[in-house]
Amino acid sequence: MLRFEKRDKTPVRLRVIVPVCSVLLGLLVGSVVMLFARVNPLRAYGAIVKGAFGSAYTFSETLAIAVPLILISSGLCLVYRMKFFNIGAKGQYIIGAICGSYLALFGPATMSRPLLLTLMMVLGTLGGALWAIIPALLKVYWNVNEVIATLLLNYIASYILWFFMYGTWGTRGFPLSKNFALNAQLPRILPAPSRLHIGLFFGLAAAVIVWIIIRKTRFGYETRVLGDNERAARYAGINVFKTVIIAAIISGGLAGLAGIAHTSAVLRILQLEINSDYGYTAIIAAWLAGLDPLVAVGISVLLAALEAGGYQIQIVMRVPFGIVGVIESSILFCLLAGEIVTHYRITLTRRLSTPLALDERARGAA
C-alpha cells in the first residue's frame, strides 16, 4: 500500500526534475501514440521542430501563436496563485475581440490609426475584464464555483459572437465581418508573409509587469497570502473583495487584449473561428510554468512551437494535428501526477487496519 508522508522541504532538484521528466514522459507517450499509427516519432518530432523553427517565417509564425499564449498565461499566473481557477480565458478572449472589433467595424473611418488602435485595444481589454468580473463577483459574494461559472461564460461568449456574426455584423449572410481597414489593423513587425505583430511586445511587457506585480508589489503579496491562507489574510487586514476583483480584472483584461490583438493583427477580420482555444492552451502553459509569468513566456513559445510544428507536419508528413493535443496533455498529466512527489514522500508499507490509527503517527500526542 502506498503511504504518503508530508515532506519537510522540497529538495530544489525535485523542482527541476519533475517538470523535465514530465516533458520527457509526455514526448514518450506521444511517441507511443504515433507508433500505433505507424508514424515514425523521431521523424515527426524532427519535422515539428523544423516546422516551428526551421526558417525565419516559421519561427515568426511560432511567435505569432505564442503572443496570445503569453498574454493570457501571464494573467492566469496571477489568479491561479490566488486559487481563483478562472478557466474562462476563452470567453474573455472572445468578448475582448468583439468589443475591439466593434470599433474597427463601426467606428469613424477617418480616425487616425494610432488613436483607433489604442481605443480598440483598450476596449478589448475592458471587455475581457468585464467578462471576468462577473464570475469574480459571484465568487466573492456568494461563493459560486468559478470553474463552472467561467466555463458557462465561455459558451455564452461563443454564442454572442455567433449572434453578431450571423446578424448585423456579417456579410451577405455569411458569418464574416468586412475586412478590417488599414487603420484598424494592428501593425505587424516583419515583412509579409510573416504575421508577427506588435502584440509580442504587449505580451512580453505583460509577462514582466505581472512578474513584478507578483514579486514586488503589495498587491501581489496580498494575492499570494490570500491564495495560501484566507483566514490569515483576513486577519492581517487584507481586503479579500478588492484583491480578487482586481486580479480578475487583470487576468480577464489580458485575455481580452489577446483576443483583439490577434484578431486585428493576424486575422484582420472578425469571424466565428478566432483561435479562442488559446484560452485553454494558456492554462496548460501557466500550469507547466509553475505559475511563474517569465517561465510561462518560454513555455508559451514551446507550446506555440508545438502548434506551429503541428500544422507543418500535417501538411508535410500528413500527420494529423491531433498529435499536438496528445503531447501537450500527456506532458500536463505527467506534471500533475508528479506534483505529489514534491509535497509528499512516497513509501510502501504494510496495510494498517485503522483509518484513525494513522493519526497517531501524524499527531504524536494524546
Binding site: 514586488k216 503589495r218 498587491f219 490569515a232 497517531e360 494524546a366
Partner: protein
C-alpha cells in the same frame, strides 16, 4: 479483586506511548456490568487515549483487555464493535445531508442491497422508545439539534449491538436541558444492563450520574472510588493535586491601568452553541492574567472575540478605554492588540510563504517596507533577520516556506513578529503547545519580559502548571464564564480544581 463474572471489562496495565510522551502509564481500569463509570481528569491526563485504546483506534504498547472474561485483541474500531463496544466521540461522524436511517446503516455490511427503510425505521424507533427518547428516523441530520444528533450517534452504537458505551465529554455540546435528558437516557440504559463509561471534567455531572469514578492524572491512575463515598473537593484534589511548582522570577511592579475590559461577553461557537455566557474579565498593564480551564469551555472563542475574529452577540470589549466591540482585526491591531494563536498555521502564519514574507505580514503597509505600491524586500529581509537574531530563531533558509520550520521556531517567529508591534495587549493562546523545553522556556521568559515592560498579557493555556508558573492572577473559565479569580501567589490548588470542574461559581 472482584469476581470476574461481575466485571464487564477489565483493562490491565495499559501503556500507550507517543513520541515524547507517555499518554497512558500502566493504567488499570475495570467496568462493572450495568454501571455508569466516569473517567475524570484534566487536559492531557490520558482519558481520551485510554478510551481510544478501547475503541480500537490505538493499539496499546503494553497491557491487556478482557471483556466478559475473555481476552480480546482490538486492532480497529470494527473489532471493538464486534465485541460490543461503541464510542460516541466529541465530533460526530454524521453526514448532514443524509437522514437518520441512512447514517445508521452507512457502511454496515449486514444490510444487503436494498434499504428497507420501514424496517430500519422501526428498529430505530424501538431502540429510542426503549430508552424513552424520541427521534424521527426520516429526518435529515442538518435538521436536528445537536442533542438530537448526539442521540443518533447513540442509536448507531446500539443498532450495532453495543453493550459497552463510551461517551467522550458528551455534555460539551449540549444545553443544560439536553444534558439532563442525556443523563435520563443513560440511566435507562443502565437499568437495561448496559455498561457506560463517560469522560468528563465536570464534577457536578460526575457526582450526579455516575456510580463510580476513576481519576487519571498525567497518564497515571490516581484511583477508583465509589461516587457516594467521596466529596467534590476530594475529587478535585485527586484530579489536580500537586504542590505548586516554582514560580518564575519577575519584577515587582505596580499594577498598571486597566487595559482590557470584557463585560458580559456573549458569543456562539461554530456549532451554534453559546460559548461565551456573559463572560467578564479585566486585565491591567504590567500583569499576566492566566485563564485556566479544561479545553472547550470558551477559551478559543474568548481569544477570537477580543481579536476581531468572532462576532459578539452581546456584551462589550474595551481596550484602553476605547470600545472595540466587534471591531475588525485591523482596527484592533492598530489599537495595540496582538495575538499569538494556538493554531500556528491557522490564522497566524501563511504556510507556503517564506519566513521573510511571514515576518512582514504586520508591517508591510508601513515604511520602510512600503515603497508606494511596491514592497522593499531588502527592508523586509533586514527586518526578518533582526527578528531571527533577536529571538534566536533557527531558520535554515529564509526563503523556504515557513511550514518547514519546527513548531518551536514557528512559534518564536510568531511571537517575535507580534511583540515587535509593541502591543498594549498581548493575547497568547496555548503558546507553548508542542514545543520543546528550550522553546517553551523562551516563550515564557518573553511573556514575562513583556509584562515587566508594562504590557497587559492574557495567557490562555490548558497547562495549569504553566499558568501557575507564569501568571500574576489566575481566572478560571467554565462553560463560558469566569467563575473565579485568584492571586497566583497564594493559590489553593483544590480551590482551582473545583472551579475548573464547575463546582464553584458556575450556574447550577
Amino acid at each position: 479483586m472482584e469476581g470476574q463474572e461481575q466485571l464487564m471489562l477489565v483493562m490491565s496495565n495499559i501503556t500507550k506511548r507517543f513520541p515524547g510522551i507517555v499518554a497512558n502509564d500502566h493504567v488499570n481500569f475495570a467496568l462493572r456490568k450495568g454501571e455508569i463509570h466516569a473517567l475524570l481528569g484534566e487536559n492531557g491526563a490520558g482519558k481520551s487515549t485510554l478510551m481510544n485504546v478501547l475503541d480500537g483506534i490505538y493499539y496499546p504498547d503494553e497491557g491487556e483487555i478482557v471483556i466478559e472474561g475473555k481476552r480480546v485483541d482490538l486492532r480497529s474500531p470494527l473489532d471493538s464493535m464486534k465485541h460490543g463496544i461503541g464510542m460516541i466521540h466529541q465530533h460526530f461522524m454524521l453526514v448532514d445531508s443524509l437522514s437518520v436511517i441512512e447514517n445508521v446503516i452507512l457502511g454496515l455490511e449486514s444490510q444487503g442491497f436494498y434499504i428497507d427503510k420501514k424496517s430500519v425505521a422501526g428498529r430505530i424507533e424501538a431502540i429510542a422508545k426503549k430508552y424513552s427518547f424520541r427521534v424521527d428516523p426520516y429526518a435529515k441530520i442538518w435538521q436536528l439539534s445537536v442533542g438530537e444528533q448526539q442521540r443518533v450517534e447513540i442509536i448507531k452504537t446500539l443498532f450495532k449491538g453495543a453493550r459497552i458505551l463510551i461517551l467522550d465529554e458528551p455534555t460539551a455540546v449540549l444545553t443544560p436541558q439536553e444534558s439532563d435528558e442525556l443523563f435520563g437516557i443513560l440511566r435507562e440504559m443502565k437499568s437495561e444492563g448496559k455498561s457506560i463509561i463517560f469522560i468528563s471534567h465536570k464534577l457536578n455531572e460526575v457526582m450526579s450520574v455516575s456510580d463510580r469514578v476513576t481519576v487519571l492524572r498525567k497518564g497515571r491512575l490516581v484511583g477508583t472510588v465509589d461516587t457516594v463515598s467521596i466529596t467534590e473537593r476530594e475529587l478535585a484534589k485527586m484530579m489536580i493535586g500537586r504542590d505548586v511548582l516554582f514560580r518564575l522570577e519577575r519584577k515587582d511592579i505596580e499594577q498598571g491601568r486597566e487595559v482590557l475590559k470584557v463585560e458580559d461577553a456573549q458569543a456562539y461557537n461554530d456549532r451554534g452553541i453559546m460559548a461565551l455566557n456573559k463572560l467578564s474579565i479585566t486585565v491591567h498593564g504590567g500583569e499576566i492574567m492566566g485563564v485556566a480551564g479544561v479545553a472547550g469551555n470558551g477559551q478559543v472563542q474568548l481569544a477570537e472575540c477580543i481579536t476581531g475574529l468572532r462576532h459578539l452577540v452581546g456584551g462589550h470589549v474595551t481596550v484602553e478605554g476605547i470600545d472595540v466591540t466587534n471591531a475588525t482585526p485591523c482596527t484592533l491591531t492598530s489599537a495595540g492588540v496582538n495575538y499569538i494563536p494556538a493554531d500556528r498555521l491557522g490564522v497566524g502564519l501563511v504556510p507556503n510563504l517564506s519566513t521573510i514574507e511571514n515576518a512582514m505580514l504586520r508591517k508591510y503597509r508601513q515604511e520602510p517596507m512600503r515603497k508606494g505600491a511596491f514592497i522593499d524586500y531588502g527592508a523586509a529581509c533586514t527586518y526578518a533577520d533582526g527578528l531571527i537574531e533577536k529571538f534566536d530563531i533557527a531558520v535554515p533558509l529564509r526563503n523556504a516556506p515557513v511550514k518547514v520550520l519546527s513548531g518551536g521556531n514557528m512559534q518564536k517567529l510568531l511571537l517575535a513578529r507580534e511583540i515587535e508591534e509593541n502591543p498594549r495587549l498581548l493575547i497568547a493562546e496555548h503558546p507553548t503547545r508542542g514545543l520543546d523545553v528550550g522553546a517553551t522556556e523562551f516563550v515564557r521568559k518573553t511573556l514575562l519580559e513583556q509584562r515587566d515592560n508594562g504590557v497587559a498579557v492574557l495567557l490562555i493555556s490548558e497547562d495549569l502548571d504553566e499558568i501557575l508558573m507564569v501568571a500574576d492572577r489566575v481566572a478560571v473559565i467554565y462553560e463560558g464564564r469566569i467563575v473565579g479569580i485568584v492571586d497566583a501567589h497564594h493559590v489553593d490548588i483544590a480551590q482551582i480544581g473545583l472551579m475548573m470542574a464547575g463546582a464553584v461559581g458556575a450556574k447550577a
